[in-house]
């Protein structure tokens, strides 16, 4: 049996698939089609991703009410593709909209770590940027960027829903630049601040 198996090794399905795969890969690399397809697919995924940013449905404090208002008929974030998801495993954007207390700090880090790449973080409101009016408090972190890398800052207390939609627009422009870079590799990128033109 074993002798006969070796004779038919070339027609064993798994080995056949691997061989075909290797041959095709070499061919594509040689003709540069692979590189072309890679760029095309990357651009396509980038376009699809930034046009439908799934935001985690997390509301910490007052800015959450403005986030909710941005989803309601008057301001309507949904026409920009912004949809709220309940699970971090299904969302692209973590919108931090309130002060992060010591009790909540490692929970928000855990939420961030549960989100799959590529993921982005928006700090909305003064409390998430720098602690806000509670910067002197014994229980509040001075900004969420002490524990999570932040991409866009939206100042305001609370920022108007229009400012939040503008923040999403600036995040989309940033995604065009950085593509699908992982969140730990963006140290050189300057974070975007809404309102500074």
């Amino acid at each position: 049996m074993s002798n006969d198996g070796e004779n038919f090794a070339a027609f064993n399905s798994r080995a056949l698939v691997e061989m075909v795969g290797d041959v095709t890969d070499e061919a594509l690399k040689a003709t540069k089609i692979k590189q072309f397809l890679g760029v095309l697919a990357g651009r396509y995924f980038n376009w699809a991703g930034r046009k439908s940013l799934f935001t985690l449905h997390l509301g910490i404090k007052c800015c959450a009410i403005e986030m909710a208002a941005a989803a309601t008929p008057r301001f309507d974030g949904d026409r920009f593709g912004v949809l709220f998801r309940s699970s971090p495993r299904q969302s692209d954007v973590l919108l931090v909209n309130g002060p992060v207390s010591k009790k909540f700090a490692d929970k928000i880090v855990r939420l961030w770590e549960q989100m799959p790449e590529p993921k982005y973080c928006i700090a909305m409101g003064e409390c998430a940027i720098s602690g806000g009016p509670y910067f002197q408090s014994y229980n509040i972190l001075e900004g969420v960027d002490t524990v999570i890398p932040v991409d866009v800052y939206i100042p305001g207390c609370p920022p108007r829903p229009e400012a939040l939609i503008d923040g999403f627009g600036l995040l989309r422009e940033k995604i065009i630049r950085i593509g699908g870079a992982p969140s730990t590799g963006r140290d050189g990128e300057k974070p975007v601040i809404v309102g500074e033109d």
Partner: protein, 366 residues
Amino acid sequence: MTHGLWTLRVKVDGETIVDTDAELGYIHRGVEKICEDRDFTQITPYCDRLCYVSAMTWANSYIYAAEDLLEAEVPERAEFIRLISAELQRLASHLMWLGAFGPDIGSLTLMTWCMRDREMFLDLLQELGGSRMHYNYPRIGGVKRDIPVGFATRMIAKIKLFERRIEEYEMLLDESTIWLVRLQGVGYTKAEDMVEAGVSGPNVRAAGVNYDVRWAHPYSVYDQVDWEPAVEKPTSVKGADCYDRYRVRMEEMRQSSKMILDAIEKIPGGKNTNYSAGDEMIMTKAPTRAPEGATGFSNYECTRGASQFYIKGGGEGRGKNPYRLSIRSPMFITIPYVAKTMIGYKIADIPAIMGSFDPCIGETDR
């Protein structure tokens, strides 16, 4: 999302809840400690951010305590403006509650409808205070600015439109079988149990007792406007269920509308005049220091219950800061009580019961 950030640990036996434990403190900001380092005027924005959905009522509540401490006089026109702003805020807050309660039960339509109507009142409050939320509007001794020109006309038009909208909501909800089945028979609470636990506000009024701080421990000019507390008649001997709590808030919205329409007609100085800021019609000069040993206390009907402030004077800056500022939040008392009410019901009843009590964690965690 719109109720707030807290944890409820539930022990279940199949689908039935056996025990609950509430965990708060995720947005504890230490406001009481921070306020020991601020002037009395600088504390007003912090009180706006306590319960962010009904900011004007909390700012008013603090201002009454500060006026008690500093022994300040308030002109009558300012009291009427405070009443109008507080009742507008009550309308906006109840609409936010309904807009969050609907999705809890499953009705996403309510979210869009209520937020659309809430925008009407946020525009009015923006004319008064300058921002959609967190107005920093009342001052010790009066209010910051007078009502703008044309404000009365716009407000009356919007409220008259809103009164028809309330009927639209009731038409949508009271004829919906899902709404009735999910709310009726769920979350029974009796009046005496609630009061002994310290619950107040619309939750107690749903159980058939018309306790309202606005007449029982009076403040401002509520005795000069035409209104009645909204009280429900619970249909069961076991007390009020979620449906009664929903109905009492709809009725409160009607009463608030009535109050505003009455107050704007009775305002001293007329509804179309606009006094400049600092004018004696809307603000009096108040002392800024409180000696040691002076205390101020206020009992105020916020949208969720009775909120109280207790301020001890004699802090730093020779009395410019308070020595101790203590805040009593109605929701801090209600949430553990509600956690115990849920025992015996099913898991699917948790959002209905929690939502019907209208929690706001901003004021709970301070």
